[in-house]
Symmetry: C2
Subunit: 154 residues, 2 copies
């Protein structure tokens, strides 16, 4: 049940983009290099990943001096599920329970297939997290943890 490096890097990058201290301007534009340094991700690889995310409509970019990437929507409007699907495909562990990419699996009877019943639950559980957690939720949660920690250290 593994998240690929592609997916991992992409999610990390989007979380950084969403969490960066916003300068007065409405659009915090960040360069690839800034993100790859911060998160220790190979720059050239991250390049491809951000490009995919851009082509999927989750990021916008600006070329040239002072350019970089910025979120295409508000952090509260981008879910981790959207990001994941762009980079790693369907959430479902097995295609016959996928909502976005269903395909029959050839078992004798799909309706009563035990594996399918359980994997349907798993897909649902994963989706209920990733499709209902936005980048804004992640930032909030990080902040909450930070406060928790500073409270304990008193």
């Amino acid at each position: 049940m593994r998240l690929s490096k592609r997916g991992e890097y992409g999610l990390r990058a989007m979380i950084v983009l969403a969490g960066l201290p916003q300068p007065g301007a409405p659009l915090p534009v960040v360069q690839i290099k800034e993100i790859s340094d911060r998160e220790k991700i190979p720059g050239k690889y991250l390049e491809q990943i951000l490009l995919s995310l851009k082509n999927a409509g989750l990021l916008h970019s600006k070329m040239g001096v002072g350019g970089g990437y910025y979120l295409a929507k508000l952090p509260s409007e981008i879910t981790l599920g959207q990001i994941f699907r762009v980079l790693d495909g369907p959430l479902a562990p097995i295609r016959c329970v996928s909502q976005m990419a269903y395909e029959p699996c050839g078992c004798p009877d799909e309706q009563t297939c035990g594996l399918r019943l359980v994997m349907g639950d798993v897909r649902g559980a994963i989706s209920s997290i990733l499709d209902h957690t936005s980048l804004a939720d992640v930032s909030k949660r990080q902040e909450a943890v930070r406060q928790q920690i500073s409270k304990q250290s008193l």
Copy 2:
């Protein structure tokens, strides 16, 4: 978030083993060929899979004429999580949230890493299903669905 064929075949096979109509004898012994025919799994591949499951202590076997495989414990004592881990490794999407195979992931601060917080939830959700669903639970559920269906057809 994909289940490998190995994992899929192994889970299917174990579910079959657990669900087979039990002849009077305490141990329903089933041959590889029987399972591979029923579930349309390449026989030689299934062989390796069942062997792994045996070496992991989830199956027992009997060689020679009239031999085959049978569950090493009661269906209620074998969880899908156990089977999954033997064939596909840790449940966690990312190693830094794995209970069985933890490894640091090198992010700046693990405690406040947004990705880690969310993937921890995902791991928990998957585990709460697979580690709390036994082969007996699967059989019960299949039976329930069958009854549901026959009720509707009236």
